[in-house]
Symmetry: D2
């Protein structure tokens, strides 16, 4: 009989929705499932919110006391979907209680904090994962497969972007994502780390960065309600305005440890770009290009195609590609955000079942935080900064 594992999910918001859906759906998609998640307890900041979460997300129980919950003997997995400032406390407590952990990204508010979390999970010997879900997009996993098989040769160059526009409006409210003490950083941590994760996944370790960091909207109105609704939050046009202490944009050069070079741009102030996660990779035998806004597709060009029929192929991910057997029976039925989270859940529970760390785990999350640290430092100093090992 397939093993069941009891999950305590700490936090709600749209990430709670995404994770809860994945717990319910994963075994339906990947069957036989590596293990079956049981939505045991959901925790929120008040009893009322937690109970609403229970009913909405189909958990058995609710609680407003995460410290108590993470210690419960019947809990196998702790899922952290809170704002960044509580990741470390929850993760460390969960690790000490011997629970497997999946934590939303970014892992922490910087490398030092991430290090405490990494130390804790290593010491505890549990399975740990950071929820950089975009590398779970089947087309991205296919890019990785091509690279690993040597089909585009040695990588010369990587260019990545993550562009959104939901905070371009100066009256878009000051959610926790614009407060350094909660978020750690702005576009760097919130979305830049996703591209760093993709770069590390596809190319390898980043050794050095030279960055430009900018804050365009120096103040924002205080937020009323609509916690974490991103662009759908109410515009508090008349509200008191408070100073923003995080970045709106980062643009950086990258030196990879193995010699490849690259660049990265991340901003939530790019009007017209919604969730524009793109990368383009040039190798000695071909190229790859991807745009998450059209995420069913991977563009790949093989240099050894015949001269009269050479060009990027638009490959729609499907059963012949990574994760394809668990998803839909033909390509282009449609990969959405749900599907990326279902795949993430599958990889996490597969890791628990097999006892082998998944990727990206806290080690990856930590390294990504060190890159984020370096971006901030380079933005301030105006120099190339080596990523701390």
């Amino acid at each position: 009989m397939t093993r069941t594992l009891n999950v305590a999910m700490i936090g709600g918001g749209f990430m709670g929705k995404a994770h809860a859906m994945a717990y319910a759906a994963m075994p339906m998609f990947f069957w036989p499932a590596p293990a079956i998640p049981v939505r045991k307890v959901v925790v929120d900041i008040t009893e009322a919110l937690a109970d609403e979460g229970r009913r909405r997300y189909g958990f058995e129980e609710s609680s407003a006391d995460w410290r108590a919950v993470v210690k419960r003997p019947d809990i196998d997995v702790v899922d952290i979907v809170t704002p960044n400032d509580s990741h470390a406390a929850i993760a460390i407590a969960a690790a000490e209680a011997g629970k497997h952990i999946i934590c939303e990204k970014p892992l922490a508010r910087g490398g030092d904090e991430a290090k405490t979390m990494l130390d804790a999970v290593k010491k505890a010997g549990i399975i740990h994962m950071v929820a950089f879900n975009y590398r779970r997009t089947p087309a991205v996993a296919l890019a990785r497969q091509y690279i690993e098989e040597g089909r585009i040769g040695k990588i010369l160059n990587f260019r990545g972007t993550y562009l959104q526009d939901w905070s371009a409006d100066p009256d878009s409210p000051l959610s926790w994502r614009f407060q350094k003490k909660i978020a750690g950083s702005g576009s760097i941590g919130d979305i830049g780390t996703h591209v760093v994760d993709l770069a590390r996944y596809l190319v390898g370790e980043i050794a050095e960065v030279s960055a430009l960091v900018r804050t365009y909207n120096k103040t924002r109105p205080v937020q009323h309600g609509n916690l974490d609704k991103l662009g759908a939050a109410e515009r508090n046009t008349g509200a008191e305005r408070v100073e923003v202490d995080v970045d709106d944009e980062v643009v950086t050069l990258l030196k990879f440890a193995d010699g490849a070079i690259g660049s990265l741009e991340a901003t939530r102030n790019a009007y017209g770009r919604n969730n524009f996660i793109t990368f383009e990779i040039h190798g000695t035998k071909g190229s790859i290009a991807f745009n998450y806004e059209r995420r069913d597709e991977l563009q790949v060009m093989f240099a050894d195609d015949p001269a009269d029929a050479r060009g990027f192929r638009t490959v729609y991910s499907g059963p012949a590609h990574p994760y394809g057997s668990g998803l839909w029976p033909i390509p282009a039925l449609g990969i959405g955000y749900s599907e990326t989270k279902i795949v993430e859940c599958f990889d996490f529970f597969s890791a628990i079942a097999s006892g082998k760390q998944p990727s990206p785990n806290f080690e990856d999350g930590y390294k990504t935080e060190r890159v984020a640290d370096a971006l901030i430092e380079s933005g301030e100093s105006g120099h190339w900064v080596k990523v701390r090992p």
Copy 2:
């Protein structure tokens, strides 16, 4: 307290997966939910398959006897995800038992059979729906909204396609989808009806058709296992070949009742097209274009835009668009097949909660079958055929 409704799902396959996921996820997305689906009983053709379905899809019970299940007093909703030849029998029995019904498309193997189902549900006074999920894509619902608001004026022309390639290979096996006695027809019923549904949703009733119907692969190998895996089914290259008695392709002209004209092409033999559901609509004040393979996007052109900035806008569906409040907080996080089915489930349960028939209901499903009948008849006769009212 939100009402719960017990669901009996008859059938498995990939549609069972999609529906089960939607039952679990719908309240997570659309909260407060109009009603909460309870996955009560799943039925399959053997006890073993049904029990596997129960575990995989998270149902409370399983059964191999759909006739008994649809009569159970604790069942509120019957969900029909079987091959086409059993739709009528199950739906009529469920209607007679007073259950609300959602039935996969096409509703039946033709208009006459569909009529028996429509009569049954009308007599029973229950809520009924046909699962043409593609009109649930938010970008498609947005197209409808633009049209209803008169933003592209009076519609002149509609061009729709549904192109796939999973059956182009002559060795692709003879699944039930290639057998007239089970499926009713080939590309016409399987995918053409989706475009007919979109045309009816966006433009209006189809009055007359002139069609070309072709069967390219006259025989196919007998299928071994892998029921309904479409393109991922094993190639039974060496197996016995049987005659195919359904169509591989239909191309047709359309006259709409209100004077608009159009065309439609549907085939599962278009190499390189995966789930290429497209439409383009020209009106007296603008145009709309859509391609499901890039389903987050709707293309819309307004003729009264200034001369120096006129062109199709690529609108990514999100919180500002239909169903947006229940889905993801910004556009392009990603609409996948899952999201279309979650929206469908929401509309169905909203209909039950409100007591108002959803759209498309069996009346729509019946009318679509009459169009399918006309396509087949026109393909045979070579004449314009009026759709039976």
Copy 3:
């Protein structure tokens, strides 16, 4: 020494510009040139217009008397770029005078008129060509090459469109293109014939059609000046309105002589489409898709590509493709309207130099007119109409 050939160009307008440019540029691009065009005489309807044409287009002489010019012994080539109603008279006179002829499309105002022209050129034994320039787009020629080499197998289906929007505005003036006595027909002759030419070039003879033909704007204001400026003509909003006696749109099914089927849509009333000449062809071994609005690119899909890297390739035409050696040294430097006309000129002068008829010649132009006749007849009768042989 390369031979020179003296050209008399009858007519001006934007086609005169395009042809004159091609005469000057062709030897620069295709060198050594098959023959060198000399811009000898340009003819227009008044001496003043003709003299302006001479200076503008770099001709040696000008005249207002085409009948005299086409008989001049020093003229080798007659180029007809007048409105449709004078094609026949000029072509027949030029043929009788033994001149090689290139005539703008459509060849005539219908099949009967075209037949008189075909008979004349056949009798005269001169080289003749119809200026369906879009098949000169290198990417289109590449499509033909793939088909001829069997790389997409036997053709099953063709879908073509030619959509523009310059006449969608009801106040767009009644140029000669909307007058049956001058143009012969509307969208059918003006743009539909281009798609018929592409269909014949790529698939083969069209045997039978079933068409819908519509006139949306029943009246238009009388035109003042701006002859043949298409969408850029002044809007004569207050002017007297006259009845339109040609079609705004045609949508048709096609049966090809060799068994393939297809459809075609042509209209100048599709808001947002500018010069949207597209085709998609499905074969038993692959597919091809093209959109002239992105004319450097051909999409091609080969069914025998490996399962994990299958999809449409975006091939940018360049030196490795048809006409590539004469155009630009790398792909995507850019094919514009100019380049299509330079290639056309090259093919025409190559034909004269070699003594072999080019394609499309008047025989092709005549057959295309017979398809146009059939479209009009089917639009009126509502029946399938066989194309007259």
Copy 4:
């Protein structure tokens, strides 16, 4: 009567072809022309080559002695289409002789050399232009118009690329473009300067750069013939290999003088990219995106569009846009490389006729060289480098 101006064109190659075509075609397109170019003398390195150029490009005379030609009293304009190492000598001699000058890009082999040319033309008081033709693409000029009209607000960010693949193959021969003494630099001068020119045109002066510069193919085979055929040159696979002393790729951060930031990537080693000149600009009121491979189109997004119809508009350049009146009567007939050169020629002759310097002139060409110098210096030093004023 429109003035005629006698042109001496120094050099051949594919640029000679492009310029000669533009001289012939410009008055045909832009009529009445500001002045009419007369193709007077073409100069090449031998009498035989020059004579062939005369016949091919339609010049009246030919010569192998540029020094004599540029002094001829009947010459009004000197056009320099030679490799980079002779730009300065020819331009200075032509300036001293009082001729107007158009010079292919890059202006020189670096800022110091460019300065000598700038000084000479300033002293001579003649009209001078650098042939950065891509800013002549109508869609690019439209981007500039939107920016000047404030329609996308204050510019925050610019990202530009110029990617080609014709030199990715290690056996692609060592043309002059890979020799520092002739070319000055590699990808930086050859293609990077085009993007610098676009950035200066659209955003403003570049103040500082931080660059990565790489040479991937350290040696290349000696070239035999096929001078300047780029990717179409013969592969001299067996030939002697020589060291390459220029760059294959540059990636850089940019600080603009007015506070905007940006990045730029230029390489001829990006498999699958042919002439991939792109830019994306984010402003406080909207965004613009362009891809030369689809050069008829400009993408523009206005932030104040209604929430339910917001997104990038695909605007096809035509009569309503810059240069539209001289080009084709409707959008998407097609802008090719020819059209960009015809527009360039029009702007140059308009400048001569009006006596006002065109843009980009040698001042612009010089400033662009100073940016190129800074890129090379930063690539070597690893520091931010200020562009010399």
